[in-house]
Amino acid sequence: MVTKLKEVDAVVVGLGWTGGILAKELAEAGLKVVALERGEMRTTADDYAVPNIRDELRYVVRHDLMMDTARDTLTVRNNPSQEALPMRRLGSFLPGDVVGGSGVHWSGHTWRWTDMEFKARSMYEERYGKAFIPADMSIQDWGITYAELEPYYDRFEYTAAISGKAGNIGGKLQDGGNPFEAPRARDYPLPPLTPILASVMFDKAAKNNGYHTFPRPSANASRAYTNPDGAKFGACQYCGYCQRFGCEANAKGSPHVAVIPFAMKNPNFELRTHAWATKILKDSIGKKVTGVVYTNVLTGEEFEQPAGIVLLCAYVLNNVHLMLTSGIGAPYDPASGAGVVGKNYCYQTGAGATLFFEDRHFNPFMNAGGSNYTMDDFNTNWNFDRGPHGFIGGYNIGGGFNTALPIGYRPVPQGTPQWGRAWKSATAKYYQTAMNIGASGSVMANRANYLDLDPTYKNAFGQPLMRMTFDYKDNEHKMGRHAADTVNAIAKSMNPTAMNAATARTDPWTVVPYQSTHNTGGAIMGVNPKNSALNKYLQSWDCHNLFVVGANAFAHNASYNPTGPVGALAYWTADAIKNRYIKNPGPLAPA
């Protein structure tokens, strides 16, 4: 028995960054908004406070802020000929599960993706010819431009308290910033974080090698800050408990600090926690959605929340799952290439080296999520000629630490015994004297990498699990080799006492261990309903009152962390709804 509730103007599924931004913006525009959040409310004062938050076992190892795979998970395989099996516990990626979502436990790296992503197919074709793009690489232009998004990147950076140094203001290069970034209207709201020793050493070595390092832009407030809406941030304490933790000091740009409180105090807004959305309802002709069915997981009761607009703002994978289980949009078929929902699922890749310096003292427990220097010479630098190397995409390289806690971070030189006195003395010695240099690489869309519904396994609500089919292709292997070579060359130039060299990842993608929570695609934006699920306003081509907001909209994955464009697109979509859709409901872009 489903209880039908009173209709509201808009229902938001998932209250993280995108849901928080849209809930706030639409409530302030006068819409009655209800947010359905599967997780519970957690607050800085009660849940992220010292000392209890400083618990590596609870938050890193046992995933206290993450989705519960006993209730819902996905099945995984490397290619369509394998049988997919359930991801029985978290590993490779860690979607969040509380108010604030993954925006609570992220590290804060905030980038502006550029036209090199948004126009990937046309730029590579123009420069290298159509034949340069492999036949099975299904990259396509996104339908949006950097110039269109620039004001929204700015909005997000000022909302989320980003610390950094501009590299290009209005076309004029800025000393100390990223010379390869696209032009921005103004600098970051906060100056860069204080670099840690490992980062200083990497910075110097990379510069000596002719590269262009800069402080990584990051949502760790370098000093106390009040955002344009009035949200107050403390200054980052470099506590070393950043990634996978909520921030004690309210110094991390998180939705429960930056945007959700403003929705909460607006009488137009209502939050329902423990509300698990199971289905998006359509009207009889399937041209509009009419609301969301959800289960109150505290009671098991089912409700239908009718709404004029439905905004899917859950994690990437859950947004796509809801589209598939609700029958919205044609499911993607890898054999024919037809269909759009589930298409162009992407991940990220990387390569890293560990350097040991017997005469250094790194104090790896002191760091901020973003206190690492970075270089983009092989990433957003379009002057880097990919032609001779035969790959599309790129990688950025950073040096330093992020959340180097001892259950998970105990670097020793290769060949060190795994236990006993020799292990103990090596572990004791090298915890303090090792540092990392790591490359994070893009993954281009491929025809055989996609999401669909599993034929066998079910979640706690009796629904099919999502099935993920993914592996790295030759393009990523080539880029990984290039990245490993670059990392190793910089590392060797620093003359470490010993070094665990970076190696390219060429084995199949594996669901363990942790790699990156940067899953993208599956409900992508584009200019044509035949090959994309959403238009450039993240509006469903099929049902114009459905918006699917998040990294699901990315047509492929860059080397950069995704939250910058995720936040910018949320503001972009909010403006399109407020300024155009409410006045004249219907498709916002021509099919």
């Binding site: 010292v50 020793l197 079910k458």
Partner: protein
């Protein structure tokens, strides 16, 4: 023996929040965890999950992997066996957050854990199979082996050279077992291991105390005082 709680400035979490919110300019006093004199042997803690044979295995394993030396006391003296017992007895051991619906297939390694066992069941079966393997090779259970034999068996187990007859895959058991030893060494002492913060002291990890805003420059390329502080000491 001094009470470390008395020698330490009180650090209320609300005060921390306030200090952090104003920008952390006022560096908080480092909570000085008093170096405790050599602790008296701890009273036996008792077991919540492990049976006698399993406890003997885990104790022998903890003492072999973490032998006493100048860096730390031996594994059982820092509570690694207690950590493992409590972890297995608790929610994690009983399969919290583990998707436990079949059908059950072996799959390929890239698909991760696929056994129909909770961690507690895996440890029970893995310890039993390990002892069976030791009896076959050495004529006695793991806890009764001499140091050389223990080393030989663990090296073979870690290298995937041991096959359990009718038991779970030995590598899956070893991976879980090794991880819990590390957790028992380096997790906060509230979980029963890392007693007297021995694991943290060994590497110079300061524990839950974590206000380093002014320490980045102050301790650049210098050792930070090795006086770790645990959650209970800050509560």
């Amino acid at each position: 023996m001094s009470d470390p709680k008395q020698s330490r400035p009180k650090l209320a979490r609300r005060d921390f929040l306030k200090a952090a919110a104003v920008g952390g300019a006022a560096a908080l006093p480092q909570a000085a965890a008093a170096q405790q004199p050599a602790a008296a042997p701890p009273a036996p803690a008792g077991y919540a999950f492990l049976n006698a044979q399993e406890a003997a295995f885990i104790e022998a394993l903890a003492d072999h992997m973490i032998p006493a030396d100048a860096l730390t006391p031996k594994g059982t003296e820092i509570g690694i066996h207690i950590y493992i017992d409590r972890a297995l007895a608790g929610a994690w051991g009983k399969g919290d957050r583990l998707y436990m619906q079949g059908p059950w297939k072996t799959g390929v390694p890239s698909q991760g854990y696929q056994l129909p066992l909770t961690p507690a069941q895996l440890f029970r079966a893995g310890i039993d199979s390990s002892n069976a393997s030791c009896r076959k090779t050495y004529g006695k259970t793991f806890d009764r082996l001499d140091e050389k034999q223990r080393e030989e068996f663990l090296a073979a187990l870690a290298a995937g050279k041991i096959t359990f007859d009718a038991g779970p895959p030995s590598r899956v058991f070893w991976t879980a077992l090794y991880q819990t030893v590390m957790e028992g060494m380096f997790s906060d002492p509230i979980y029963g291991g890392n007693r007297n913060k021995a694991g943290w002291r060994m590497i110079g990890f300061p524990g839950a105390i974590a206000v380093h805003r002014d320490n980045i420059e102050k301790y650049r390329d210098k050792a930070f005082p090795n006086e770790p502080v645990s959650i209970s000491e800050m509560s």
